[in-house]
């Protein structure tokens, strides 16, 4: 009986590989980053839906499914069917999925192109994992350090200052979770090869600090043609234009990239223009007052006077962060609705992305 249960799947696997020569089975796993489940995110907002709506300003006052995940960790080695699996996760998340943490390797241009198209079409953020110790932190807000009291030394407690961001209290609590350090399979703990093409498609792309040691063993064979096509595809998906065959930009993409595309940066600057102008004005005021204080040799009174300016300046920074969070959130939800106007036809979407990927690969192969 035991032998039978072992042999049957083996035969099935052998048979399938005989039917589809040259294609590997889907080998990536898409696991929920547990602390990113909305039920776990909501305490950052003091469990108050109104605080959540006030922060993200969604078009409708509706919380995402609290059991759905805001972030997935993509782990393994890329193979055929992985892009479709990703699409399935996005559709199931109903727009709640915002970030992919990428810790995979391998090379499969068709799947890479398709995954990259999906990532960009749904306006997801990407983060390249570079080591086995991956610590999750929310993508929409950061903890702003507590204001430092600048009162002169008099032995008195400085007056309590309200936190810079309304989420600071919640984030402080969130930081105490015991499950923020996520296990990443050691054999696939780095974003390598085709992973960078998917990473490059993110609307906001970050990377974790590189952790030594880098993957051991012989360096993988990098096919120059594959690398070139990957660069061409990545550049096209990012900019909407094919690079010239000798364009030096091809040597930089996809690995050495800015965190945002010019388009995204332009859009963020436009949407958050008011917040940006305020922070610049406050920085200027702070700078002027600081210069005046320097003229007074930074005497205690003049330093004390800087306290409210630092507070206002940092508070303005937290407002920019919030504005960006809203912009990303709205952009992602709008893209989701564009792809899934009323309901999501995952099968039709999959076909569309497959065709787009094939077409792009075809076009890329023409650029010599």
């Amino acid at each position: 009986m035991r032998t039978k249960t072992f042999i049957l799947p083996l035969l099935a696997a052998l048979l399938s590989s005989a039917i589809m020569p040259g294609t590997a089975a889907a080998t990536l796993t898409f696991n929920c980053v547990e602390p990113s489940r909305y039920a776990n995110i909501l305490p950052i907002f003091n469990d108050d839906p109104n605080a959540y709506f006030d922060y993200f300003k969604p078009a409708q006052r509706r919380l995402p499914n609290l059991q759905s995940c805001r972030a997935l960790i993509v782990n393994g080695s890329i193979g055929s069917g992985d892009a479709e699996a990703l699409l399935g996760k996005i559709v199931a998340g109903q727009g709640g999925l915002a970030v992919l943490y990428l810790a995979f390797d391998g090379s499969n241009l068709v799947e890479e192109a398709k995954m990259a198209l999906i990532v960009r079409a749904f306006a997801l953020k990407t983060s390249a994992v570079r080591g086995p110790r991956f610590v999750y932190s929310p993508d929409f807000a950061t903890f702003w350090r507590e204001p430092v009291a600048l009162a002169r030394s008099a032995g008195n407690s400085p007056a309590a200052v309200a936190p810079f961001s309304p989420l600071d209290g919640g984030l402080r609590l969130f930081k105490t979770r015991k499950d923020l350090l996520l296990p990443v399979a050691k054999e696939h703990a780095f974003c390598l090869d085709g992973c960078w093409a998917v990473w490059y498609a993110g609307v906001d792309r970050t990377r974790s600090a590189s952790q030594a040691p880098a993957p051991a063993g012989p360096a993988p064979h990098i096919d120059a043609t594959v690398a070139r096509r990957r660069a061409l595809l990545s550049h096209f998906i990012d900019s909407g234009q094919w690079a010239a065959a000798n364009d030096p930009v091809l040597k930089r993409v996809p690995i050495s990239a800015r965190f945002w595309t010019e388009k995204v940066e332009h859009s963020l600057r436009q949407v958050c223009e008011a917040e940006l102008s305020v922070v610049k004005s406050l920085e200027s005021s702070l700078s002027q007052s600081f210069d005046a204080s320097v003229k007074r040799k930074l005497d205690p009174s003049s330093v004390e006077e800087l306290t409210p300016l630092f507070e206002r300046f940092n508070r303005a920074g937290a407002r920019i962060e919030k504005c960006y969070a809203v912009a990303y959130e709205r952009g992602r939800m709008a893209n989701f609705r564009r792809q899934c106007p009323k309901t999501c036809d995952a099968s039709a979407l999959n076909d569309t992305f497959s065709k787009q990927a094939e077409k792009l690969l075809q076009e890329a192969s023409q650029i010599k």
Binding site: D139, T142, W144, R145, P147, V148, A149, L150, A151, R152, S153, A154, G155, N156, S157, D204, T206, F259, W260, E265, L268, R269, C272, L276, V279, K280, E283, S287, F290, V294, K297, L298, D299, P300, V303, E304, L306, F310, F313, N314, G317, I320, E321, Y324, A325, A327
Partner: protein, 372 residues
């Protein structure tokens, strides 16, 4: 059974070794603080060093003298206090700082050593570590900023970047003081030594007094209330600050509350502001605030979206550092005079342990009187 016992013994020994706990009270010179190394900050020129700290004419430390000592391990009995007296005496007034790494112990050792530190005008540091190694920073100077603001120049005789480089090179081969786990902080009775410092740096961990001796509950309660009253009077005498005293009384004896202690007593802070034109502690906090803003905006720029250019914040940090360099020099020079004078007064022909014991005892009696 024997096997299990042997296994447990091995595990216990392993754990003790791994945390490098110091089982006995020890006082030792911090090698990096020997004057032969510190003089490198001043291009090897002791005259520059003397000018920087305004040493009295003709008074110079020997190269092997220590400027800082490390106190570590549990505070147990009177011999511990004698060890601190010894190192003060051996360095003839040139010992300026005590680094503290102790989880505490007997209150009487803590308060005696605290009064000793105050009498000899010593600075106290709650030892801090980086990458498992204790960090020693010369107590009288701070390094220049990475980028010197265009309008600023280094104050006369201040250690330059090259001086700091030479000093670091000089101490690079010294064995590091490892601080992995265990008593890597100053807690409980150790905070009484920390509070005794004339200039107090670092975080102390406080809690209310506790007593494990077998008495009735009533006697124990009465005894501990008396200890609390005395320690509040002690911290008040040392002017640790109202926050410190409040947290001492609020923290149960089974836990500790990490707390920054006021760097100077209020009157010393006032004096330094008058003499040096700025508040050194306040400038340290200002620099911290600029660094915090810088780091937060850098994070915003990196992970969320573009915000501001950080150049002006960098420039501000540079200005504050330069001002701090001058103010720290001014405060250090004032402290230096006082310390050398205090040593001459207390140990005119070498340090007499009995006399010092009597002096401390008298101070403690005075403090106890104020607690009633």
């Amino acid at each position: 059974m024997v096997r299990i016992a042997r296994f447990l013994a091995i595990v216990a020994i392993g754990l003790l070794a791994a945390t490098e706990r110091v089982s006995a009270f020890e006082v030792r010179c911090i090698e990096a603080s020997r004057y032969q190394h510190l003089v490198r900050l001043f291009d090897g020129d002791i005259k520059k060093f003397a000018a920087y700290l305004n040493w009295p004419a003709g008074q110079l430390p020997r190269p092997q003298y220590c400027r800082a000592a490390l106190i570590e391990g549990p505070l147990k009995d009177r011999t511990d206090i004698a060890k601190v007296m010894n190192i003060i005496g051996e360095n003839h007034g040139w010992l300026a700082a005590l680094y503290l790494r102790s989880g505490g112990g007997k209150v009487f050792v803590g308060v005696n050593t605290g009064v000793l530190a105050r009498s000899f005008w010593l600075k106290t540091y709650a030892a801090a570590q980086r990458n498992g190694v204790m960090e020693y920073q010369p107590d009288f100077a701070i390094p220049p900023p990475d980028h010197l603001p265009a309008s600023e120049s280094m104050p006369a005789n201040s250690p330059t970047a090259a001086g700091w480089e030479a000093y670091r090179a000089s101490i690079a081969k010294l064995p590091p003081i490892k601080m992995t786990g265990g008593e890597m902080f100053c807690a409980s009775a150790c905070t009484q030594i920390h509070a005794g410092g004339i200039d107090r740096i670092g975080i102390s961990r406080v809690h209310r007094a506790h007593n494990s001796s077998n008495k009735t509950l009533g006697q124990m309660d009465e005894g501990l209330t008396g200890t609390d009253d005395f320690l509040v009077a002690y911290y008040k005498y040392m002017d640790a600050g109202p926050d410190f005293m409040r947290m001492y009384l609020m923290t149960a004896s089974q836990i500790v509350t990490p707390l920054p202690i006021n760097r100077h007593s209020r009157h010393m802070a006032d004096l330094f502001i008058t003499k040096c034109g700025a508040d050194g502690d306040q400038l340290t906090r200002l620099e911290k605030q600029i660094e915090a803003s810088n780091a937060d905006f850098k994070f915003l720029n990196t992970f969320y979206g573009p915000s501001i250019d950080l150049d002006r914040l960098h420039r501000m940090a540079g200005h504050v550092r330069m001002r701090r360099i001058a103010v720290e020099q001014c405060m250090a020079a004032i402290n230096e005079r006082e310390r050398l004078t205090a040593f001459t007064g207390l140990c005119p022909k070498g340090c007499d342990r009995k006399q010092l014991d009597a002096l401390i005892a008298k101070k403690l009696v005075d403090i106890r009187k104020t607690s009633h």
